[in-house]
Symmetry: C2
Subunit: 261 residues, 2 copies
Amino acid sequence: MQTVVAATAPVRFVPRETALQAPASPAAITTLCSTCHLKELCLPCGLTGIDVERLDGLKFARRRVKEGEALYHEGENFQFLYAVRSGTFKSILNLKDGREQVTGFQMAGELLGLDGLASGKHASSAIALEDGEICAIPYAHLTELATVSPHLHLAMSRMMSREIVREHGLMMLLGSMNAEQRLAAFLLNISQRMKARGYSASEFHLRMMRVDIGSYLGMKLETVSRTFTSFQHQGLLKVDKKHVKILDLDALQQIFDGPVQ
Amino acid sequence: MQTVVAATAPVRFVPRETALQAPASPAAITTLCSTCHLKELCLPCGLTGIDVERLDGLKFARRRVKEGEALYHEGENFQFLYAVRSGTFKSILNLKDGREQVTGFQMAGELLGLDGLASGKHASSAIALEDGEICAIPYAHLTELATVSPHLHLAMSRMMSREIVREHGLMMLLGSMNAEQRLAAFLLNISQRMKARGYSASEFHLRMMRVDIGSYLGMKLETVSRTFTSFQHQGLLKVDKKHVKILDLDALQQIFDGPVQ
DNA sequence: CGCGCCGTTGACGGCCTTCAATACCCGTGG
DNA sequence: CCACGGGTATTGAAGGCCGTCAACGGCGCG
């Protein structure tokens, strides 16, 4: 049933940058984890040689996604996990009244679709916030590999557990913090993730709109805007629309930590 | 590894194949999934004969827990998953200011500790809300089994995914609903879970305090109390402290669904 | 240019929090 | 037996944070 695992595809020399710019040939462009510049962040994180090579056997289909496009919709059959190669995505739940609830933002190296295993249908939708590229990982093949490789099994479990922990943190935020703390938490989180990806931790471009940030943080877009302005007046940061420059990371951290106690 | 003995006194869900009923090594405090009355709800859910028998090999240690006692604390090393046999538990995060954030309530057949895989340390604490009993499942052994049994691997992944989906729902609640909708959602959820366990869906005893409900729903205990009173005045239910009788489930559902649109 | 989308800002009001008092239950001890 | 105290739940009053509604400005695009 499962084909050969070891692959000897001639992809060793594909440099990171040009790999991203490969023309969108309709035929499947495959990607190898072992040569991916994101392997420290992504699924292979923590895996060693042999296990990563096993992942190579999956020959992920790579796919370009344009801004606004959906990777999958709530309710669709779950077949693939998606690993972000470039770009930013949002995960959303559709509310009964037509609004949407943002459950997370995903950046390079992060996984999308883990909520689909539960029922075999995607429990949320994933929308691209800018043009980007993803690896589509066939879940059935991945689990087959996991039965062979305990380390991969562990890595997958850890990925899911990490998602649970992340949502715990969000529940804490939504359940017990005020607007300033929420936005501070959000900015600190983005800052960290940008840093982990080699970008500046203090100056970045937000890819999502105010209404998305608001939905994610459980506040209205006007409140998001006002809180940005307030932070700017306090000298914590400089905002111009989506461009943010953090001027005082410590103070932001203190706001997040809450009133001293 | 697997011994077979005839068991009498089967509980509610009698297994089809009485032949493979398991050994009651009477002195031992171990528990077998194959004879457990919770197997339709718990970890073995969806698994068939052979896989459940494999779980039997783990010989879960059973443990009694008293009200107020902790199964584990945030930060402790992660070794076991815990399956609730009886009683009710709350999962909590400790906030910096000394308060706590409740992230979930667990009833019979539900798993505790899934957030520990991510870092190897428990990311939350689990506290018994009443005297109860749990199965302590050694995670290392469980993963070993999962490499042998693809079905078990799938079952575990599904358990985690279900937790992610559950938290999604909670984020929606915390991010976009008012006090009445939150409490309605909470009551409907409890009602369903009681029903699934063979109890009345319309009349039950809440095991948690108002402050816990409030923490879970992102509101203050006074607001919880006031909303209960309001529901009572609307004729939706009858409340006396922790005892709740739902009088109009449909109306409660309508409140949860929100204003018509 | 004009239109639509996005972000900002102001005014107002409502929902929920905060603070406080009271009632109730229950175990302990005089 | 009743008094007493601690923990829990309810209820009231006042206030604040944030939501709602509205207007405006900037920007990109047909």
